[in-house]
């Protein structure tokens, strides 16, 4: 009987438990990295002490959000908070404190805040407000323009702050739009753009064009259910084009066709695999499908031809450098690649079970840069090993899946859209951050949710999650 007296039993304790586990784990790892001789984890002059303060502040905020602030407060004030954070972002541009080449901090009293972190919440709220309007459809131009405006305004300012990482997070909102009815073509095209971009830089425009053509052929034939023919034609085309330069003995083309035969084979296989993913995502009538496929092909050709120009003329030096190191074009473990190299050494040396708590050498001796913030995952990998890393991945996966499942079954569309925003925000952070530490992604400064040191990020992610927990809780009562 008691059970029904306490309505908060219906709160999603899975999410709260995962949150608590991650936060505490992050705290002791920050202590492990930064501790000196005989230090106290509650020493508030140290970062690990301060981190505890931030955990407490976050906990209080979460409590307020869940117990005190009414659920409809967020939808009601969405535009006010959105506008406020946009103003803060702009203020940061003018009077912000710069560090590490980006100007993203603002000094308020004794605290330094990073408005970009909070802009993720307000943008999510604003997006949910816009899209949850009765009769909203992404198919009309005014609606598309509204959504674009809500997303592009903070993106533009953050880009001006030179905070590439935070800007990339907004790409995650595209997935939310996909859930809400946006054509899967946009995602496929986005993916192809990145693929073609990388291929153009690390191999040659020629290779990129051949791959683009292969993708087009696969889509073309598969849409007509001519599977076998599709695979055959695509394979033959790729093989023919791969060996054409050699056959014709065209030196200039041969020079831009540096891939060996087995790599070409891998390309064919990847393209076939890619097709299946695309087919799962896209369900459009045959006619538009064919038209879109042609547009993709045309744009692809133009894109590939312009990438070389973009790469060498538009990108800034440090961005180009990071791309080069990430793509393995330059090998420089002491220079730009230092972060990546040391980070992989730290994680790799952890082995299966890790070196044990506070026994990591690479992280606590300062070989890994930014080890308490962006590279906190190195400490986990080194001291807790593969097991610890998997444990963290499992916690994250639980949180993301749980949010998406709760969001998807919410009756209120505001809750659903906001929930997807939260899930994607967290997912993009995790993939970029962990991907960076293990060499799957370029080095982009972005915190690991709930684990990294940093008050703004800790508070922002906690608030973001708490708002969703509150919304989901209220939604179940309807």
């Amino acid at each position: 009987m008691n059970r029904h007296k306490n309505p908060y039993r219906k709160l999603d304790w899975t999410l709260i438990g995962c949150w608590l586990a991650l936060v505490l784990f992050g705290w002791i790892n920050i202590f492990s990295v930064l501790h000196g001789e005989s230090s106290n984890i509650f020493d508030f002059h140290q970062k690990y002490g301060m981190h505890f303060v931030w955990i407490c502040i976050s906990l209080v905020s979460a409590f307020l959000i869940i117990r005190v602030i009414p659920a409809n407060f967020w939808q009601g004030t969405a535009w006010i908070t959105y506008g406020g954070v946009i103003l803060l972002l702009m203020a940061t541009l003018v009077m912000g404190v710069s560090s590490h080449g980006s100007q993203s901090w603002i000094q308020i009293g004794g605290f330094r805040l990073q408005p970009a972190e909070f802009s993720k919440i307000t943008t999510s709220l604003a997006l949910a407000t816009v899209m949850s309007k009765y009769g909203f459809s992404l198919k009309t131009l005014p609606n598309i323009a509204r959504v674009a405006a809500v997303l592009l305004l903070p993106m533009a300012i953050i880009l001006l702050e030179n905070e590439t990482g935070s800007m990339l997070v907004y790409v995650g909102f595209l997935v939310v739009l996909f859930r809400e009815g946006m054509s899967g073509w946009i995602l496929v095209i986005g993916f192809l753009i990145v693929l073609e971009f990388i291929l153009t830089i690390i191999t040659s425009p020629y290779v990129a064009l051949v791959v683009g053509l292969a993708v087009f052929l696969m889509i073309w034939f598969f849409k007509k259910d001519q599977y076998l023919l599709g695979v055959l034609v695509t394979t033959l085309t790729v093989v023919a084009l791969a060996f054409l330069p050699k056959l014709l003995e065209i030196e200039a083309v041969a020079a831009v066709n540096p891939l060996p035969a087995e790599t070409w084979l891998a390309i064919i296989l990847s393209v076939v695999a890619l097709f299946y993913i695309i087919r799962i995502i896209i369900r459009s009538p045959r006619k538009t499908f064919e038209r879109n496929a042609f547009i993709v092909l045309l744009c692809g050709v133009l894109f590939v031809l312009s990438v070389q120009f973009f790469y060498s003329h538009v990108l800034q030096d440090h961005q180009r450098n990071r791309i080069d190191v990430f793509l393995g074009l330059v090998d420089d473990p002491k220079g730009v690649g230092y972060n990546l190299h040391q980070s992989m050494v730290a994680i790799g040396s952890g082995g299966f079970a890790g070196k044990g708590f506070m026994n990591g050498t690479q992280t606590s001796l300062g070989y890994v840069p930014e080890q308490e913030t962006d590279f906190i995952f190195c400490t986990i990998g080194e001291e807790w090993g593969f097991l610890g890393a998997l444990f963290i991945l499992a916690l994250y996966l639980t949180i993301i899946f749980r949010i998406i499942i709760l969001a998807d079954r919410a009756k209120d569309s505001f809750t659903r859209i906001y929930g997807y925003c939260v899930a994607m925000c967290i997912a993009v952070h995790i993939v970029i951050n962990i991907g960076m530490t293990i060499g799957l992604m370029p080095v982009i400064g972005i915190p690991l949710p709930f684990l990294s040191y940093g008050g703004s990020a800790m508070l922002a992610f906690t608030a973001m999650l708490a708002i969703f927990i509150k919304l989901a809780f209220e939604d179940r009562k309807i």
Partner: protein, 615 residues
């Protein structure tokens, strides 16, 4: 078949796939790839070597011949060196600016290989310079000093015998994998022969350091550390005073002096002249060129490596064999008319009474007498042919230690040469030679090659009346007992009962009428000796002398071999007898001071032909 995923499940699937890719990647770098762990350790662990003190070398009386002094190697960790005052470094150590520039240029060229490692910047810095550096060390981050030991030689004796210690080179490390660049090892002499005992064991302290190369503390509280074990001292059988005295006598002469204590086989002195001065040993690299360009080759240890014909000294061997074979008795007499003539063969001799018996033949060193002896041995009816009798003779000779390595602990010992049947079969053709063809063997000439150590050992064998211990120069102790090779008596094939006859002859050589060794008379010492004058195709005869004393209960046996010194009595006998006198009496009698001065001032280098040496 058509199937569609809901948009939610599409999103979940894509996220799951991406997380799976991350997990696979983690599995790959954490579990499959092993080299990250190694890189991590190289990054973070710093092994600081603790070099043990090398063992001292003592002489038989406990005097120190070699000991250690502390020097410092200045090490530099190039990664930690900021801009610094190059001139100040040069002033402290008295260096050229170019030296510093060159060093740092090479560090830069190898920066990747060096990483966080330390490189030697300057070696063997004395304490004065070290103190000057230590005062200003704060000005030079990245530089530090490692204490090393260097050798000091309190007695100027036995340069060749002791040998030198120097830094190991690449070839040495390849042959001895337990050594690392920067280690030192004995390269010649005792330092080399007893490297294992002298070197001790290196230790190390493991520190961990941060990304800036700063040492942060003891790794695992020293669990991985290893203490250095100092090398053990080595007591040699050498008498340092005697060695030093002998080296003075041998100054400006080319040759060897070897003295052995017959009752133990212990080597008392081992002089190869010209030799390496101990002052050059400590800084061998500085003097190496000078030494190696010296035409008399001071590196060459003549005492064990120079195999030369023994000359008349060898008559004693033939005498002993003759006695054992029964073709010779004490009273066998042979005539000598200024030599031995048979057909075309003529072996000359000097003027002396004739005929003479065995002891007299030794005293007067009659050549003809031993021609008869050798012919009787070779043409003995017991044996079917010359080859058989020659082989028997050869067995006798080698049983005295000739013709092969004695097995002493002197490094690079050579075996010398005793001809075989094959030698003569090749020279004359099989069956085409007879005892007359090899007649020069009777007086120790011809195809014989003996090292001075062989001769000294032979002399000790006579002193012992028929046995010897293999000569050695290291005393055993409780921890390192003497190898059994040095504690077992060796018996030549000649019965002990024949030796007193030889001793009688050697005694007569010193004191008897017509004896060739009168110059070796030492007051208060009953000396036995035998001269030798070895002909050679390269200039004057070599002067050879072996002697032991006292006649009864001998305490020292000496062999002296002075190249191109003329008659045995001219140089070798005075030198050997002075050694005996110094050893037994402690000082040189007034009556022999003149002789001593003559020997000390003797200059024979100009008589020694300088040959182009093979390396």
């Amino acid at each position: 078949m058509k199937f569609y995923l809901s948009r939610r499940n599409t999103i979940l699937l894509v996220i799951l796939v991406i997380f799976a890719i991350i997990a696979v990647r983690l599995f790959s770098i954490q579990i499959i790839q092993k080299d990250f762990r190694e890189t991590a350790e190289n990054n973070a662990l710093k092994y600081v070597t603790i070099y043990p003190a090398r063992g001292r070398i003592l002489d038989r009386n406990g005097n120190t011949i070699v000991e250690n002094k502390i020097t410092y190697d200045i090490m530099v960790t190039p990664r930690n060196v900021p801009e610094f005052d190059t001139l100040a470094i040069c002033n402290i150590f008295g260096l050229d600016l170019d030296y510093v520039r060159e060093k740092f240029a090479s560090y830069k060229a190898n920066a990747r290989k060096i990483g966080f490692g330390s490189m030697p910047f300057l070696k063997q810095v004395g304490s004065a310079q070290f103190n000057a550096f230590a005062e200003k060390a704060f000005l030079f981050p990245g530089f530090d000093a490692v204490a090393r030991t260097a050798r000091v030689y309190p007695v100027n004796a036995g340069g060749n015998l002791i040998g030198y210690v120097s830094e190991v080179d690449r070839d040495y490390i390849e042959a001895h994998p337990e050594y690392r660049a920067g280690d030192y090892a004995g390269k010649t002499g005792i330092e080399r022969a007893y490297e294992k005992r002298l070197a001790g064991e290196k230790g190390y302290t493991v520190y961990y350091r941060d990304a800036h190369g700063q040492i942060k503390g003891h790794y695992e509280d020293g669990a991985l550390d290893k203490e250095a074990v100092a090398g053990s001292d080595i007591t040699t059988t050498i008498d340092a005073n005697l060695q030093a005295y002998g080296e003075i006598l041998m100054r400006n002469k080319v040759g060897s002096v070897v003295a052995i204590e017959p009752s133990t086989g212990e080597i008392l002195t081992l002089i190869s002249s010209p030799g390496i001065d101990v002052s050059q040993l400590a800084e061998i690299n500085k003097y190496y060129k000078e030494i190696s360009e010296n035409p008399y080759n001071p590196m060459f240890n003549r005492t064990v490596q120079s195999a030369q014909p023994p000359g008349s000294v060898f008559k004693l061997v033939n005498g002993l064999i003759g006695l054992q074979e029964g073709v010779l008795t004490r009273e066998t007499r042979y005539p000598c008319n200024r030599g031995y003539t048979n057909g075309k063969v003529h072996v000359g001799c000097h003027g002396h009474p004739s005929p003479i018996n065995l002891p007299q033949s030794i005293a007067m060193s009659c050549n003809a007498y031993y021609c008869y002896v050798l012919r009787n041995i070779m043409d003995n009816r017991k044996y079917d042919n010359i080859e058989e009798s020659f082989n028997k003779w050869r067995d006798y000779v080698t049983s005295f230690g000739f013709g092969h390595k004695l097995g002493s602990d002197v490094p690079y010992e050579l075996g010398g040469n005793v001809p075989t049947v094959n030698t003569y079969n090749k020279l004359h053709g099989k069956g085409r030679w007879k005892s007359l063809s090899i007649i020069s063997l009777s007086i120790g000439q011809g195809e014989l090659g003996c090292t001075p150590l062989h001769l000294a050992n032979f002399c000790a064998t006579i002193a012992n009346r028929g046995w010897f211990y293999t000569p050695h120069m290291i005393k055993g102790d409780e921890e390192h007992p003497l190898d059994s090779a040095y504690t077992v008596k060796n018996y030549p094939m000649v019965d002990q009962k024949y030796f007193p006859l030889i001793v009688e002859g050697m005694n007569m050589s010193v004191y008897g009428d017509g004896g060739t060794s009168h110059v070796a008379q030492v007051p208060g010492v009953n000396m036995c000796g035998k001269t030798g004058t070895a002909q050679n195709p390269h200039g004057d005869d070599h002067s050879v002398f072996i002697c032991f004393a006292p006649k009864d209960n001998p305490q020292i046996a000496v062999a002296a071999y002075i190249e191109n010194g003329g008659f045995g009595a001219t140089w070798a006998a005075p030198i050997a007898s002075l050694i005996v006198e110094k050893y037994l009496n402690g000082e040189i009698a007034d009556s022999r001071k003149e002789l001593e001065t003559r020997v000390k001032n003797g200059y024979l280098l100009n008589k020694v032909p300088v040959r182009k040496r093979k390396r």
